[in-house]
């Protein structure tokens, strides 16, 4: 199963003074099981692109095929949007602003109810979704979403999408505005959801340091086009080109670059801080044979509740 996008163009406010072409001939294939990161600066077209995958824009030109659901610009043929939205779950930026019901349970049930599922199936899915995002179902189901903390609200909003059991989960800036701990929790939640619920995950992020933690493949948008589509370890060999279009590179890549420029030999592709740490230790051990250091160093991150920490962190290809 695949998502295939062919020659996708999109123009906002066509034939007005505000006309702006946001997508210019985008071609992209996303495979089932991909953990795809999308980066690009503001206005690069990345959000317009993902909204197409969920049928939020009418196709202007090009073709989209999402797991055999075909979207075409033809006005006479109706695309099967209901089935598409059950297949692709979309979590917008600041999804907690979308909560509207008076209890958590009702809010999470909104999506599956609209899919026309029977009451029993709906409540089964709601319970599972709430548990999947690491909340206590019995404790939280009757509470008003508005009395929850920011991080809890975001989880409830994500549960509302998960309850539709989408095969593809798309998240737009899922950690925006959270504190460091909240960020870590959401990141491990996403990895957990990929494993337990939605095998294909697409994440938009501004934070390259964050994206290096999970994605196996990164697509870079620039000026409405796909500029790069590479496995993570290859992408950051193009650091200068990324910098030229206003994108940051991960700190670990930057530090590794500086060390190499000054003649330090570091092995392998360095993308994450753990890669850098490992390479430094290996280089150190070569020079200091007499007192070597454990090569399996890892950053001690936060400790989480067991139910959401089911990550091995080694999802990269």
């Amino acid at each position: 199963m695949q998502i295939v996008v062919k020659d996708l163009n999109f123009t906002y406010s066509a034939k007005t003074p505000f006309e702006r072409q946001a997508l210019k001939g985008v071609n992209l294939t996303i495979n089932e099981g991909d953990f795809l990161g999308i980066i690009g600066h503001t206005g690069s077209g990345k959000s317009t692109f993902i909204m197409h995958l969920n049928g939020l824009f009418k196709l202007q030109s090009g073709e989209i095929d999402v797991f055999d659901i075909k979207l075409v610009p033809d006005k006479k043929k109706k695309s099967d949007l209901r089935r598409l939205r059950g297949t692709v779950g979309m979590v917008f930026q600041y999804p907690e602003y979308q909560l509207f019901e008076d209890t958590v349970e009702k809010d999470v049930a909104f999506g599956p109810k609209n899919m026309g599922l029977d009451a029993e199936e709906v409540s089964r899915r709601v319970k599972r979704a709430i548990e999947l995002v690491g909340l206590d179902y019995e404790d939280i189901k009757d509470r008003a979403p508005f009395e929850l903390s920011g991080g809890q609200k975001r989880r409830v909003a994500i549960a509302g999408i998960i309850a539709m059991q989408p095969k593809v989960l798309i998240l737009d800036e899922p950690t925006a505005g959270l504190d460091p701990y909240g960020k870590e929790q959401i990141l491990s939640l996403i990895t957990h959801l990929k494993k337990e619920c939605s095998p294909t995950v697409i994440v938009i992020s501004h934070d390259v340091d964050e994206i290096t933690r999970f994605a196996n493949r990164i697509v870079v948008f620039n000026d409405g086009k796909v500029m790069f589509d590479l496995p993570m370890n290859e992408l950051f060999r193009h650091a200068d080109e990324l910098h030229a279009v206003g994108l940051e590179i991960p700190k670990a890549v930057k530090i590794a670059q500086k060390l190499r420029e000054r003649g330090v030999e570091l092995e392998g592709d360095i993308v994450s801080l753990n890669d850098l740490l490992h390479a430094i230790v290996v280089a150190y051990n070569k020079k200091h044979m007499d007192k070597t250091v454990d090569e399996n160093l890892n950053f001690s991150a936060f400790e989480f509740d067991k139910e959401i920490s089911g990550t091995d962190g080694e999802d990269k290809r």
């Binding site: 530090i255 250091v293 950053f299």
Partner: protein, 280 residues
């Protein structure tokens, strides 16, 4: 000694939750901020840092204790305008702070409300726009701008009131890296050139590094307070209260703990690269 810009004297604040019940957000905080310092304030969600920010210009008044802004008590109703003109606030979402349809009017709003004469307002608008590097947008509309531009505009709006202290309550949280950098540059420049006292509340530890002084809040209290390098040296404590340390420090600390002779207090990337080059 000159009077501190801001002085908190055993300040506590509780939010009323329901009839008779309340939730304590700040407990017994005492603090002095000298004029001209750049203070960063960090803490996880719910640590009380935003409540503390709102106490600094009388948006909230302490349940007990006193907040003095240049010696003026924020609980004194008659002097609240003095307090608000001394301490300007920039919030998280710039859209919530925009009130006019063009840039000029938006910036003039503050001084107009303070009854500043027209000629002076025009001067201030020019000056404020120049300070945030947005002079060419004078007649533009804020609604079509990028997040970083909008936030710089919000800062200009606060500047036009000519405050002596600026409080930024997670003003970089919603911005992309470029926008964040724009805002930080403007704030640092105001601190340096105008001797503006800055209290910057942030989740980004790399931003906190750039301050003169770093205050860590936890559970409504001040847990650590000192130079950023000294505060980040307490990385274990910081992780325990759900905060991180900047990635250079994280790297230095991990290497040093593994037995490699790197100073765990390094916060600067160049310094880390230098010391690694000597070892490798």
């Amino acid at each position: 000694m000159a009077i501190p810009a801001i002085k908190l004297d055993n300040v506590s604040f509780s939010y009323p939750v329901s009839e008779g019940a309340e939730q304590k957000a700040v407990s017994g905080v005492s603090l002095e901020i000298e004029e001209g310092t750049f203070v960063a304030l960090v803490g996880h969600n719910g640590s009380g840092k935003s409540t503390l920010a709102k106490l600094l210009n009388g948006l909230l008044v302490p349940t007990s204790g006193r907040v003095l802004v240049y010696g003026v008590d924020t609980a004194d109703d008659k002097k609240i305008y003095d307090v608000r003109s001394s301490v300007g606030m920039v919030f998280q979402n710039p859209d919530n702070q925009m009130i006019a349809t063009n840039v000029e009017d938006d910036i003039a709003f503050g001084p107009e409300n303070l009854g500043v004469p027209r000629e002076e307002i025009i001067k201030r608008v020019d000056w404020a726009l120049e300070k945030v590097g947005m002079s060419q947008f004078r007649h533009a509309t804020p609604f079509k701008m990028s997040g970083g531009q909008k936030q710089r505009l919000a800062i200009a709006g606060v500047l036009a009131i000519k405050p002596r202290v600026m409080v930024l309550d997670e003003s970089t949280a919603m911005l992309d890296p470029k926008g964040r950098d724009e805002v930080m540059q403007v704030v640092k420049q105001l601190n340096r050139e105008e001797k503006m006292t800055v209290v910057h509340i942030t989740h980004y530890m790399d931003e906190a590094l750039e301050a003169d002084r770093l205050i860590v809040m936890n559970d409504g209290r001040i847990m650590l307070d000192g130079k950023p390098a000294d505060v980040f040296a307490e990385h274990k404590l910081l992780t325990k209260i759900k905060l991180g340390v900047p990635c250079v420090t994280q790297l230095a600390v991990t290497l040093s703990e593994a037995g490699i002779a790197v100073d765990p207090r390094i916060t600067d990337e160049e310094a880390l690269v230098d010391s690694l080059c000597k070892l490798l």
